[in-house]
Subunit: 250 residues, 2 copies
Amino acid sequence: MPRIVKHPELRRAELLDCAQALFLARGYDHASLNDVIAEAGVSKGAFYHYYPSKEALLEALADRFAQAALAQVKDVLDDPDIDALTRLNAFMTRSRQHKIETAAEGWALFEALFRPENLVLFHRINTAAVTLFTPALARIIAQGVKEGTFKTFDPEGVADMLLQLGAATHGIVARAIAGDSKAEWDAAIRALERRIKLYEVALDRILGLRDGSIRLTERGYVRAVMTARRQAGAGQISKRTRRANVTGNS
Amino acid sequence: MPRIVKHPELRRAELLDCAQALFLARGYDHASLNDVIAEAGVSKGAFYHYYPSKEALLEALADRFAQAALAQVKDVLDDPDIDALTRLNAFMTRSRQHKIETAAEGWALFEALFRPENLVLFHRINTAAVTLFTPALARIIAQGVKEGTFKTFDPEGVADMLLQLGAATHGIVARAIAGDSKAEWDAAIRALERRIKLYEVALDRILGLRDGSIRLTERGYVRAVMTARRQAGAGQISKRTRRANVTGNS
């Protein structure tokens, strides 16, 4: 059979699919780069050409996840017939739905980012996501300013600020994951719910809107996303063999 | 001469003084832990007992800096006769004055924190500072809520949020430092000024105050703090010998 030369983007996507499947099955920590390479059935050299490290794979997966999330809200962003507040709320609702739908997968792939030893990687991935989402959010806010309903001198700054505040919940999520007991877990969920509620009112006011105008959360949302994590984790644990030298859970 | 056994806290403070003097003279990157130990005139074992790494020294110095900054506002926090808005503005004014006064020293000691390879250390130090300042700021906000002038359901959350937003300027400061040209420098100062202005209005509104109630910045403040950095850097460079193997500036 002749060797088929694939388009680099196609090859890249295939390798990512392969890594994703393996990370989902075993968990990011329990699959080595060599496992991924073996599963992909390519030479090490070929693989390293695309993804020089396991971290690079996770960054690429995170980018694909973020791109998919943005694609989910594209029609909301492009609809020419809705005002800014409707668009902003639709954007948030759709993002929440997408997050709940992909939560189990997301946790299985990215939970490692909430451990102390991966803080740098978390921030690198977060910066990329903020950079991707800021223009979309800024455009909605600028529309509101133009319509006279939102009051701010800096739509892009508000967009960036809101996305940064999202990342500022990293510590709360990390504590939730690190804690083992049901009580710690519930406390972390309550802390997250309270914080998102605060952001909700904060965003209303920062944009000069009445309290309750923007919906960043709804009853049960945080719990739904966080619970998906435990299911994702349980699924993996039944399949994987714990390797003491790669876990490093703290 | 008999060996004098010093109180551990006193010994600890002396070692910190010694490290601070050396870091100020040569810059954090250009002084090794061995240099500090030699300068302190103690055994390695004794030194490691107190500070097991150069990072531990920098963390302790940062903690001392933060404690000193908090001490500077103690009378503002304790004054029983002022309302919450007056107290909050006095707190911010005093903090700004202190920051300008200590800016050259602060840059010389902590500039390294704004380089990518020290991101984890930056976050660890920032978390400690946020933890130290949150109760003071939360108490002021709670006073305002009690007085009926501030409107929020979560004084501690607002305090934490504001301090987190301070850390979110890390990227802008890092870009300012990484940039070499006057134009990049000026652009970074303008970006910082604009961002603090945004935080100022945001904080007003988050607390249900009229725009312009709280002063987080004033004309020339950002430039004064940032300019102190260049002076601090120039002072060090004239004294130190560059060591290629420890710089790693990027």
